[in-house]
Amino acid sequence: MEIKDKFKALFNSKSEEELIIEDADILKANYLSEIERIFRFEGINKKDLANKIDVSPSYLTQVFRGDKPLNFITIAKIKRALNLDIKVKVNVISEVKVIPYKVTSMQQTDAVSYNDTTKEFQSLKLVHSDFKVATNLSNNEYNLIAS
C-alpha cells in the first residue's frame, strides 16, 4: 500500500460522531487562533491572561492545546478582559476541490543518492471555509480582522 493510501486509511475512515467532534475542535481552534493572535500582538502572555479572567494558567494552557473544552463563558471573559470585538461569519460550503500533489525530497548536499526517494504523497484538500471567526481590538486604530 502506498503512503497516501495508508494516510487516507488512517484519517478518512471517520464515523459521523468523529466528524462532529472534529468540527467542534475546528470551531474551537478558530476562536483560539484569533484570540492568540491578538494577545501575542499586544504582548500579553497566557499567564497574564489567566490572571485577568481568574482561571489558572495551566487550565488556560490546556484549553489552548485542545486538551480541555472551551466554553462561551471563557470566551466572553477573554473578550471583556482584552476588550475584543469578536465577529462570526458563516457561509454555506459551495465546493470541495481535491488537488493531487506529489512530494519529492532531496538532500541538498547529496542530491544524487536521494533522487530515488521521489514518491507519491497524499492528495491535499482545499476546503472552502465554512465558519470564520475574526477578532478585533475594540477602539483600535489598526485593522486586525483576518480575511
Binding site: L32, S33, G66, L124
Partner: protein
C-alpha cells in the same frame, strides 16, 4: 510526509489519542498558516515542530513549511522524535540539522 520516516510516523498517528491531537494541530495550522502556538512552534526559519504533550506522551514531529506558487501552504512532516527531557538531545539535534539540508519539492500530479 517524509517517506524515510513513514513507518514510524504512521505508527504513531494510528493511535487514537495521537490522531485526535494531530487533527487539532493540523486544523489550527490550516486555519491560520504561519501562526505558531504552544503545540506548533517555530524552530527556525521554515522548520517547525508539532508537539504531542503531555497526557503521558512527549513526542515531537519536526516539519518543514513550504509555500507553493505563493498560494498553497504545505507542512511536510519530516522527522519524529521521542523526547525524554526538556533539553534537545544530540539525536534530536541531529534530526533537526539533517532537516536543514533537506528540500522538498511539491508538484501537481500529471494528468490532473
Amino acid at each position: 510526509m517524509d517517506i524515510s520516516e513513514e513507518d514510524e510516523l504512521l505508527a504513531f498517528l494510528s493511535n487514537e489519542k495521537h490522531k485526535k491531537k494531530f487533527n487539532y494541530i493540523v486544523n489550527r495550522i490550516l486555519e491560520q498558516s504561519f501562526m505558531y502556538y504552544d503545540d506548533y512552534e517555530q524552530i527556525e526559519g521554515n522548520i517547525t515542530c508539532m508537539r504531542f504533550f503531555p497526557n503521558g506522551i512527549n513526542v515531537r514531529i519536526y516539519c518543514k513549511e513550504i509555500l507553493i506558487n505563493d498560494e498553497l501552504f504545505c507542512v511536510v512532516m519530516s522527522k519524529i522524535a521521542h523526547k525524554k527531557t526538556r533539553a534537545i538531545g544530540k539525536i534530536i539535534q541531529s534530526k533537526i540539522d539533517s532537516l536543514k539540508t533537506l528540500t522538498y519539492d511539491i508538484k501537481k500530479e500529471d494528468g490532473n
